[in-house]
């Protein structure tokens, strides 16, 4: 193999996979032809060609990725469905605010919502012979809540010695089993992208970092199952949510992210920092909360479900997460002037969630490249 071809073979990895698969061989042949042209023109001409190939490869790979992201592939989900998808998040916001102002949370409304959801959903599925798109978001949230409830219930079987640590350990094991089971079922026979494996490893590692930090500050006297639970609780939870999202992707083809997003809303929604709890005395708190609620529970679902392109979907999912993560550091450091309030554990956890979104995105793109025949056999999502 000649140098130009070897060089371009490496550069091809920068291109979107479908472009590489369709035109890769022809592009390698082209690079080889170009090298043949300069064969008798000396080393300088060859070096100039290699430089030109590198520039061509990098610039056009970026252009192809951008074009793929901007390709209009999806029909926007109707507005009523977008509103339905926003309901659980808005309820959560209302309930948190109510609890802050008046004490008790609005649990009754939540129970009513879940009851209605459980009642209406089977009827809709039965009547329309399909799963409504908007329901993927609450389902993602429910999937998260259900393993938590199952963990609590199972640990209580252990009797009076059971405490929050055992409950956490059982939930961790359940999340891990679910994640592994779903990933195995979904990706069996598929070659998982290396980037996805790297991100998965980072997610799992991210669980250990806060533990290391804690052990440096004070001696940690934990039993093995407690250490395991503390290290893996959040990473496995994140992986499980990605897996749930991908189940939706396999079944509904275009909608890999909403179910992940359902969990993502809850994971961020569960964070005290989203609600500004640590900033109680800050006068800007109401504005901060209103902004976060709008960003996460209105703008993000609307953007995700109405987007016609992958770029729109990526923006809808990643932009609120990035704003939150930046705010998480910027508010205590620059607005409140209390950098000490930046807790490493919280930062790492936020990073875990961001990584889980990245993983969801990589696998979403991977699954989206399934052979067209296979995709056509799948039922298409409708309202």
């Amino acid at each position: 193999m000649k140098t130009a071809e070897r060089l371009y073979r490496v550069l091809l990895h920068l291109y979107p996979a479908d472009h590489r698969e369709t035109y890769g061989q022809a592009m390698l042949q082209h690079a080889q032809d170009l090298e043949r042209d300069v064969r008798d023109k000396g080393r300088l001409a060859a070096a100039a060609l290699y430089l030109k190939l590198v520039g061509d490869g990098i610039a056009n790979a970026g252009r192809e990725h951008w074009a793929a992201l901007r390709a209009s592939n999806f029909d926007p989900v109707p507005w009523p469905a977008v509103l339905m998808a926003a309901v659980p998040g808005l309820y959560m916001a209302l309930s948190r605010r109510h609890a802050d102002l008046f004490g008790p949370a609005l649990n009754v409304l939540g129970v009513v919502y879940i009851a209605l959801f459980a009642l209406v959903l089977p009827i809709m599925v039965w009547r329309r012979r399909c799963f409504p798109v908007w329901a993927l978001l609450p389902l993602g949230m429910l999937a998260w809540a259900l393993t938590f409830m199952a963990g609590t219930s199972l640990s209580s079987l252990a009797g009076p010695v059971a405490g929050p640590d055992l409950s956490m350990a059982v939930t961790t094991i359940l999340n891990g089993m679910l994640a592994v089971g779903i990933f195995y079922t979904l990706l069996r026979g598929d070659r998982i992208p290396k980037s996805a494996l790297v991100v998965m490893a980072l997610i799992l590692l991210s669980g250990l970092l806060p533990l290391v930090h804690l052990s440096q500050r004070a001696p940690v006297n934990l039993r093995p199952h407690e250490i395991l639970a503390a290290a893996l609780f959040e990473p496995l939870q994140a992986l499980m949510l990605v897996a749930v999202g991908l189940t939706a992707a396999r079944r509904y083809n275009i909608l890999a992210l909403p179910a992940v997003f359902g969990g993502y809303m809850l994971l961020f929604g569960d964070s005290d920092y989203l609600w500004g709890s640590p900033y109680r005395d800050w006068p800007g708190l109401p504005l901060y909360m209103a902004g976060m609620v709008f960003l996460f529970f209105v703008l993000a679902p609307a953007g995700l479900l109405r987007a016609k392109t992958d770029l729109g979907r990526a923006t809808a999912v990643f932009a609120p997460a990035i704003v939150f993560l930046v705010g998480r550091v910027a508010v205590p450091a620059f607005v409140l002037g209390e950098a000490a309030r930046i807790y490493p554990g919280e930062i790492v956890f936020s990073g875990t969630i961001l990584l889980s979104l990245v993983l969801g995105w990589i696998l979403y793109r991977h699954i989206g490249r399934a052979p067209i025949e296979e995709r056509l056999e799948r039922p298409q999502p409708v309202l």
Binding site: Y8, L11, Y15, H19, T22, Y23, Q25, A26, M27, L28, Q29, H30, A31, D33, L34, K52, L53, G55, D56, G57, A59, N60, A61, R63, E64, A67
Partner: protein, 120 residues
């Protein structure tokens, strides 16, 4: 053909690289490298396309239906099997004609205004 004109209008004006690729295919099907060679020759080396640029443009031209990949291949003994051959579609020929006419009109105006010399 008025209908044909309506169809072509949405593709105009063409970018220089697209115009040159379509022009290169006007006299018959070619593979990517032959297209690039012809473009380089016809522009005296001013337009030069690497593999990324060329196949990016080809991908978009295929998608818009201005060119088509041809199934016929020369004898494998005479050519590399990795090459892909392309030909102008009917729409591509109409678009190329419309752009060429537009450019010819611009050249005529430039000539009338003595921006360039008279045709030899």
């Amino acid at each position: 053909m008025p209908g044909s004109r309506d169809n072509t209008a949405q593709y105009l004006p063409l970018t220089p690289s697209v115009f040159h690729i379509l022009l290169a295919l006007a006299d018959g099907e070619k593979h990517g490298y032959a297209i690039m060679r012809e473009v380089e020759n016809s522009t005296a080396g001013r337009v030069s396309m690497g593999p990324g640029t060329l196949y990016g443009a080809i991908k978009r031209l295929l998608k818009s239906g201005l060119i088509a990949e041809t199934a016929e291949r020369p004898d494998p003994a005479l050519d590399d099997a990795r090459r892909r051959y392309y030909a102008l579609s009917g729409l591509g020929r109409d678009v190329l004609a419309a752009e060429s006419e537009h450019l010819a009109r611009m050249v005529a105006i430039a000539r009338n205004k003595n921006v360039i010399g008279a045709a030899p």
